[in-house]
Amino acid sequence: MEKKPASYMNPYVAGIGLGLVLLGAFVVSGRGLGASGAIMRTVVKAEKIVSQEHVDANAYLSTYGGGERDPWDEWLVLETLGVLVGGLLSGAGARRIRWETHHGPRISRGKRLVFAAVGGGLFGYGARLARGCTSGIALTGGATLAVGSWITMLCIFAGAYGLAWFLRRLWI
């Protein structure tokens, strides 16, 4: 019989672990953690392959990949590669690696996948506008007490809580 997945770590213990990794990033590398930046850089990497001219002509894209610049030649990209490996190691150790889709009791798997993509798209757009996501802004900027990061963090929660009631069929 296949063994069941391990239960999740106590959230406060996981939080201390995460906090120490974040502190380690500040102390060693002088910067915090991130995620969406590396995804953006991957988009630019792909766009460079399709059309270098398009990247050069766009003021936003060219900051990442203009001319000879390699969007992947950055700390955050290596850190994010580590996130994938760390997630894989943890998931393997807890027997949680399997092809599956988690969804609420009142939504089909297919619809869940559509909403996952749409939600991811909104998050991606918002993260570029706000210059970072939950990792790079809320967590990292939260710990350094950056004013804008706290405001953005509160807005993320406000946006999600504000729509939660209307979208409850997706989840509960």
Binding site: V83, V114, G142
Partner: protein, 201 residues
């Protein structure tokens, strides 16, 4: 003395190896906390599972306390530490859009990557959608009004500015206030989980 990168040099192979190692730690704790599961993440917004708040604020308080202590002992040079620049209105609007994306899709980018690493198909769609959203942002940057809004700063609350600087108090005082708010939040979270626990569970 710290950050070490001042001695190692930015963008060196050592710097990148460290980045990779730190990322492993980040991904490990995200996955261990259960954040590879969108259903668990979304329950935060129905007060049924407050792990997002608990993990996030424990992590913030841990790192913040370390930063305040190390800099007050003179071990860590805060001027060499990256502080997210403040752009008030893009930060507000971007945050609200991200919040909408969170409740629609169930993931934020970091947790989606951990979901991808453990084979969650919805997480793969979330990252793919995120790439499209970011692509569209860059395209919309060609619209002058959007590029202007992105660069818009607000007098008095802009650039590299921290809460202690803005409020004109010592970092330790703000850190203590954050700690108190976090603990109050944890107490409220424990209460909410009991109050809103689904009947069938």
């Amino acid at each position: 003395m710290f950050p070490l990168v001042d001695h190692l040099g930015f963008g060196t192979p050592t710097d990148y190896v460290i980045a990779f190692a730190l990322g492993i730690g980040f991904g490990f704790f995200l996955e261990r906390a259960g954040f590879g599961d969108a259903n668990k993440l979304a329950m935060q917004f129905y007060f049924r599972d407050m792990a997002v708040l608990k993990v996030m604020f424990t992590a913030i308080v841990t790192a913040m306390t370390g930063l305040v202590a190390l800099s007050s002992f003179g071990v860590l040079e805060m001027s060499s530490v990256y502080i997210n620049p403040t752009y008030l209105w893009p930060g507000i609007v971007g945050g609200l859009i991200m919040g909408a994306g969170f409740i629609v899709g169930g993931y934020c980018p970091g947790t989606a990557l951990v979901g991808v690493a453990t084979g969650k198909v919805d997480a793969i769609l979330s990252v793919a959608g995120g790439m499209l959203g970011m692509f569209l942002f860059a395209e919309s940057f060609q619209i002058p009004a959007i590029a202007r809004f992105y660069a818009m700063d607000t007098e008095g609350i802009t650039g590299r500015i921290t809460l202690p600087e803005w409020l004109g108090v010592r970092p330790g005082i703000v850190a203590f206030a954050v700690l108190v708010i976090a603990v109050a939040g944890f107490v409220a979270a424990e209460w909410a989980e009991k109050r809103f626990k689904p009947l069938e569970a």
